[in-house]
Amino acid sequence: MKELSIYEEQNLNFSHLTDHMEKLNDPLPRFFREAREKAAVSFGEKGLPDKKDEDYRNFPINNLFEKDFKYRFFKEIVHFDINHIFKCDIPNLDTHVIILLNGFYHGGDDQLTELQDGIKFGSLLAATKELPEVVEKHFSKYSGFGRDGFVDLNTSLARDGVFIYVPENSVLEKPVQIVNLIFSNKELFIQPRNLIVLERNSTFRLVVCDHALTTNHSLGNSVTESYIAKNAKYDFTLLQNEHNNASLINHHFIYQEENSRVETNTISLHSGLIRNNHFVTLDGERAENIANGLYLMDKNQYADNHVFIDHAKPNCRSDQLYKGVMDDQARGVFSGRILVRKDSQSTEAYQRNNNILLTDEARMNSKPQLEIYADDVKCSHGATVGQIDEEAMFYLRSRGISENEARLMMMYGFTHDVIKNIHVDSLRGRIEELVYKRLQGELAKCENCGFVNV
């Protein structure tokens, strides 16, 4: 049995968050403490969202807290080598790997690691010491306060998630991979908090994998802020592949300046409940944002993607493509909001959401919301919720392909235009494989991301 020692663990008492601030704030600089306190106050006032909140109307929030989740205020010291229990096995996926264990940066807190050309990564805590001015400039600036109780909760507890800094003109070919691991014999509520800063003209690729190594119930409430300066390029892939006892609430705030380009792929393969809030602010001319998503849900799983693209400046372009396959009693929501502000002329904004329901009981709720205040706008949106095309099924079968195989080919083909946008080749290959297995009804997981009994 591995040895775990836990510094501090308490039942989470939402109403008394501020009581804990003192001990939480201990080594942190003032601006950071202030942000946390502000978030705690705002959380104290508003609490978690409920059914009255338009954005959470379909969200089964009550079921979520039936479990007696534990929250750890501080990182636990683990006396074993993480490499013994986890090694990402994607062939040829050559990345710089960062591990977040139960929401905390796994590795030294004292120093950031330098890769090349001043590209640095490490724990947020270390960044507050080493690059305080960078953290101060961006931390909680894009997530804001008071807009979502989950975000406020995360901000008030933020401590040492991942920090990445890519200075001006640096290009990192090799992607960085953050692996969010859950490894515990308790039912954990984790609060990872990440800050990614891309300065002008830089290029950076990030892959994030959510994985649980233990099968206990868990709830992840993560917030990532990504700042993308002028002319910078950011390629981001999130792979959510857990188990039915894992619930993930994930917020990504992306702030883009002039002529920047961001491409995100949100691939949800497996989890009991998934909520992805994806906020993009295009705050410089000619900025471009491509947001792709794929969710494959079955049993009683729930997938909820909220995308909000704010065209705050003219001449920007955004394109969303989200696709889903819902089997058994799975339910899902896609809500795509596009805001084109009054002076944001020459905007292009596109959105598509296509869904296949494999059973009569599966449900999908697709809600496009367009708010357009400028007049020179090219905008289109389309949502479909349907069954497998029977004509196409017959066509394939008439060529000798069995019904099962034909259905699999159709579903796989349906997912293809999302998967093909993943630019990290080896990762795309693995995701293709996982999707294929998933559609076949197999529990799809990367080999070494298997479950360990604790």
Binding site: D389, R399, G400, E405, M409, F414, H416
Partner: protein
């Protein structure tokens, strides 16, 4: 090899085929002509096993077995091929993967090993040449964005790959330019052996200049109302269907 006896079939409760009988022997080419909506595609659908069409009476025998008991894929494994009047676009499914799966599933049904990747590619190349299909087409998704003519050529390409015993070609000539028509007809003729047969559904004599039928049948309001040799097609081209309708009224 194929015997159809007094076949009745309906779609959504409406009777479309009203007693069709037809016999196709090895090596024969049968042309089926007839006005729009007379039930030609419906007959082809019954042969290929489309579930939408419900057989209410009669029988279809394939090499002595009841064809109607078989699933669409089993019919394909048995050597029946339908060239669709309206080939379906399947985004995201590549032609290569589609054909590879089709070939290997059919081999599996026959207890054969899957083709090796290199043998498969060789077969693709060979058949592409045979039907003069643009190389680019087979690297795309099935029929996606293909022009009308390209879709029809693609049907012949699939036929060439699968080498059926009975090919039912539903208006494979419609929408083809003269050159493509010749290519398609050549493809059909090159694949012809004394053992395999075709049923060619068409509105135009011009295809039958290339593919010489042994029999021409006229399907009208769900029945075969006239059967004759190849000269019937010429007569229809010249005079249309009115004289047949009149003949029927008088009878």
């Amino acid at each position: 090899m194929l015997v159809i006896n007094n076949l009745h079939a309906e779609i959504n409760g409406k009777e479309i085929l009203k007693g069709i009988s037809l016999k196709v022997n090895p090596g024969e080419v049968h042309a089926i002509m007839g006005p729009n909506g007379s039930g030609k595609s419906t007959l082809a659908s019954v042969l290929a096993g489309r579930e939408l069409v419900m057989v209410t009476a009669g029988e279809v025998l394939w090499e002595g077995k009841n064809l109607l008991d078989l699933s669409p894929e089993e019919r394909s494994h048995e050597g029946i091929f339908l060239g669709f009047q309206y080939p379906v676009e399947i985004p995201g499914v590549s032609m290569v993967n589609f054909m590879k799966t089709a070939i290997n599933e059919s081999r599996k049904a026959k207890g054969m090993e899957p083709l090796s990747p290199s043998d498969f590619l060789k077969l693709m190349r060979e058949k592409k040449n045979l039907v003069e299909i643009e190389s680019g087409l087979t690297s795309r998704s099935v029929n996606e964005g293909f022009s009308g003519g390209e879709k029809k050529k693609n049907e012949i390409f699939q036929m060439a790959m699968l080498e059926p015993k009975l090919a039912v070609l539903d208006e494979t000539d419609s929408g083809l330019d003269i050159d493509a028509l010749r290519v398609v007809a050549n493809g059909v003729n090159k694949l012809k052996t004394p053992q395999n047969s075709s049923i060619v559904i068409t509105h135009y004599q011009r295809l039958l200049d290339f593919i010489i039928p042994d029999f021409v049948h006229v399907l009208y309001k769900g029945k075969i109302v006239k059967s004759s040799g190849k000269e019937l097609a010429l007569e229809l081209e010249e005079k249309g269907y009115d004289w047949i309708k009149k003949e029927l009224e008088q009878a």
